[in-house]
Amino acid sequence: MRAAVIVFPGSNCDRDLAVAFRNAGLDVTMVWHKDTDLPSGIDMVGIPGGFSFGDYLRCGAIAANSPICQSVKAHADRGGYVFGVCNGFQVLTETKLLPGALMRNAGLKFVCKNTPLKVETTSSVFTSAYAQGQEIMIPIAHHDGNYSADADTVKLLQDEDRIAFTYGQNPNGSTADIAGILSENRRVLGMMPHPERAAEEAHGGTDGARLFAHLTEALAGA
């Protein structure tokens, strides 16, 4: 199973995400944003957290228009898996691979803390190792995580069981407490919380490890 982690100028969780993928048994290649093609045979693309291009214009907007993102879009359109964390989620909404947008936190402050999440669906390779409705603790660290979408989009996400995680205590004003969502084919997940920062005992929590734990099995069966 091969994964690519995209590195933009300003990414700062790229190596953490690579470690989490590697610990889960994936063979990881780091891919620079100026590359135009993903290495061949990639099953999973990780878009890491950070502050790509300094968050200029809008978070994720410039990264979403970088050369490699055309290939990431093509990979997703072919049915490939994509996992975007934090700034990665912002990039995925800017590329329109996921609906909605991430706006400035309602409290206007950067929020960095451990946060309870509820697993809303187990129907995806990312969430199948959790129990439906399970409460997990995952850190958040963002200034622009306020998920915003019109009522029709939110209803569609609910009706199609595409809300992956919700916040137990909404930290940022997100519509419907949304912390992470899936694409229509359930193969693209974007989430603001950082499971890769709660994946080993030394991190102070391991609730995020399950998100990665079954990836190789699930991808082998895909």
Binding site: L57, R58, A61, I62, N65, T93, E94, P99, G100, A101, M103, R104, N105, A106, G107, L108, N146, S148, A149, G173
Partner: protein, 76 residues
């Protein structure tokens, strides 16, 4: 030639920054500020002959996120 692009949050999209500015104006003693919306202005220096259509394309592809924002183009 120059173009000035005004990007604003769409009506109905809550603007937390505008709200904070409104509160700050209130605490400075400015009464009667009923609403503040904050946006951005982007000035483009363009080669002569660039069409408004091209600037519109720039807005759609990068300068605005039309999920939450609207834009107006002013050629100057």
């Amino acid at each position: 030639m120059k173009a000035r692009v005004h990007v604003m949050l769409k009506n109905g999209v809550l603007d937390p920054q505008g709200e904070a500015v409104r509160h700050a104006l209130g605490s400075l003693g400015f009464a009667g500020v009923e609403g503040v919306r904050q946006g951005k202005v982007i000035e483009l220096d363009l080669a002569d002959g660039t069409t408004e259509e091209t600037v519109k394309d720039m807005c759609e592809k990068l300068l605005a996120n039309t999920v939450i924002e609207r834009y107006e183009i002013e050629l100057v």
